[in-house]
């Protein structure tokens, strides 16, 4: 069964145009100009139950707008949308019982009361039976090591502690789909790793479908079997992370460390005709960029025989660079 089914989903906003300067502001007072912004343009995708899917894109690409439509916060302008068997904005109150939502930038918890009091309040709001609630809370608290935090008010927690509490809060009613909007933003590497591990286990043990947006591609590499990439309101990639890397990775870099000072011209001379590019960091160290279609052995052979090499390192282009590359090229394309 599909957890999320989206077809030609679109969201337009009408934005008021503000004219410049005092004179412009005065004109706006009498006659306003509006312009329409398409935040999400006819996107289509399906996510089966039990999948962890990463939703990435630059700021303003429409990620949050999509998530907000999927969670029933925003009403779409057009298109078909079924999440967990419901049309989110139509049967909102019944629908949200089956989903969990974590917005990294915003707290779900009550600021002034103890964490456990917030959880109790949520238990009432979601109408979770006391025994289920207790079992679930114990499990989550143990898994995320929240024991001593529970009695503290939220405002006295660190960001990492708060984030773990947010996760618990979103899972108390045992949702079958979890939406995470930048769950690891601003967290240190230890907490990040812990949260990733936790999400993986949650997915494995409970079959929870997870859709997360993030700017940290490590999240994606650690968690997601699938990536949907968004740019300017349209999906530009939908598939596995491996395929994304294979398709977009155009080459690799070979780092050389030389025993004697070497000139750039001499290096270029050695590999002329291969289509590789050289970059000299300083006179003892250089980087050769090699397109995917050329063999490493062929290029290396030319250099190895002619130069005094202390060290060689081959670096695969990482996801960050690939994604940066995609963003850049998509920006240029009309």
């Amino acid at each position: 069964m599909l957890a999320i089914d989206v077809e030609l989903l679109q969201k337009r906003f009408v934005v008021q145009k503000n004219r410049e300067g005092l004179a412009g502001a005065f004109k706006d007072l009498f006659k306003r100009e509006y312009r329409e912004v398409k935040a999400v343009k006819d996107i289509t995708f399906q996510i089966p139950q039990g999948e962890i899917c990463g939703y990435i894109g630059e700021n303003g690409a429409g990620k949050s707008t999509t998530i907000k439509m999927l969670t029933g916060i925003l009403v779409p302008t057009s298109g078909r949308l079924v999440v967990n068997g419901y049309v989110p904005f139509k049967e909102r109150e019944a629908f949200v019982k089956g989903i969990g939502v974590v917005f990294g930038q915003r707290s779900q918890l009550w600021w002034d009361i103890g964490v456990v009091e917030s959880f109790n309040l949520l238990r009432k709001v979601y109408r979770v039976p006391p025994q289920d609630f207790k079992r679930r809370l114990d499990e989550l608290v143990e898994r995320l090591q929240l024991g001593e935090l529970l009695s503290r008010p939220v405002r006295k927690l660190s960001l990492g502690q708060r984030m773990r509490c947010e996760l618990v809060a979103s899972l108390l009613h045992n949702p079958s789909i979890l939406f995470l909007d930048e769950p690891t933003i601003g967290l240190d590497i230890v907490v990040k790793t812990e949260i990733r591990e936790f999400l993986k286990q949650l997915n494995r043990d409970h079959g929870t479908t997870i859709l997360l947006t993030t700017h940290d591609l490590q999240d994606i590499e650690a968690l997601c079997s699938r990536v949907i990439m968004l740019d300017d309101g349209t999906i530009i990639y939908d598939g596995s992370l491996e395929l994304l890397k294979a398709n977009w990775s155009k080459g690799r870099e070979i780092h050389f460390h030389f025993g004697a000072p070497t000139a750039l011209a001499a290096l270029e001379q050695l590999t002329s005709g291969l289509g590789v590019q050289w970059r000299l960091d300083h006179e003892l160290s250089a980087v050769m960029w090699l397109p995917s279609e050329i063999n490493v052995s062929g290029a290396l052979a030319r250099v190895v025989g002619a130069a005094d090499i202390r060290d060689i390192k081959i670096v695969e282009t990482n996801t960050d660079e690939i994604v940066r590359e995609i963003y850049k090229t998509e920006k240029v394309a009309p």
């Binding site: 906003f13 925003l74 917005f103 915003r106 979601y126 109408r127």
Partner: protein
């Protein structure tokens, strides 16, 4: 039943947070009462210069004021959404509300509950009782029942008006001055409407019916036959229901237009 238990939970949490800031609580009660006291003094000052206001004696006007304080206090406790636009729209806290399985307006109201306002209602009741004795009116069991019904009606008028106007925040992103304006106009409903010209009287009766939060329902108890105000009093519950329904409709329609804050 569900909403009842939610109400109780929120109230408990309100108490827990508030008891940690005790001084705050009392300052709020005090400033509330001081504000009301000033209004009362204003009435007394006016009557130091004249014996009657549009044919109404001081005790009668004070009685109306006392009545007005009751729905005003109840509104302040349960339905006051001052700052809604700032907190829920601009800062986007409505996102959180909308991802929870309870009616969104109900959640927002519960989060903004302010029980100290009820002390104002109690003070209003005392003022009413004192002027009741001064005016030497008879007390019947029916009066108490009517007081409850009329108060409910007046509170609904308040609720409807403020809900509708707060919902404006969903339709425009610019802050509007309408709410503060309304806040000032509501004071006009405390005085005998006979002293205003016809336009304002019409406005206060049918458009922004603040006369139904003060002078009309109060005159039910005063038996003033001359203006027909007492018969209008019986309309209070109907006007209340009509405005509350309209307010809810506008709100529910507005929520669909909610656009969320950036990020």
């Amino acid at each position: 039943m569900f909403y009842g238990s939610l109400f109780w939970e929120y109230l408990k949490n309100y108490a827990k947070t508030r008891l940690t800031y005790r001084a705050d609580f009392w300052i709020e009660v005090l400033s509330d009462l001081l504000f009301q006291g000033l209004n009362l003094i204003f009435i007394l000052v006016v009557f130091a210069h004249t014996d009657s206001l549009g044919g109404w004696s001081q005790a009668e006007v004070v009685f109306v004021y006392g009545y007005f304080m009751i729905p005003y206090g109840i509104h302040g406790c349960f339905f006051d959404l001052w700052g809604f636009s700032e907190r829920y729209i601009v800062k986007g806290e409505m996102d959180r509300i909308l991802t929870r399985p309870a009616h969104n307006l109900f959640q927002v109201l519960l989060e903004n509950m302010n029980p100290p306002s009820l002390i104002g209602s109690a003070a209003g009741l005392v003022i009413m009782a004192v002027s009741w004795l001064q005016l030497d009116l008879a007390v019947q069991a029916l009066d108490l029942l009517m007081l409850a019904v009329l108060t409910l009606g007046s509170t609904l008028v308040y609720f409807g008006l403020y809900t509708a106007l707060t919902a404006i925040a969903f339709y425009t992103d610019a802050p509007t001055g309408i709410l503060p304006l309304l806040y000032n106009i509501q004071n006009y409903g405390r005085y005998p409407v006979g002293i205003y010209n016809r336009t304002i009287r019409f406005l206060l009766t049918w458009i922004i019916p603040f006369a139904f939060v003060g002078v009309y329902p109060a005159s039910y108890f005063l038996d003033r036959p001359e203006e027909g105000a007492a018969s209008l009093a019986l309309l209070t519950p109907l006007i209340g229901l009509a405005f509350a329904a309209a307010g809810l409709l506008i709100w529910n329609h507005g929520v669909k237009r909610y656009r969320g804050a950036g990020s």
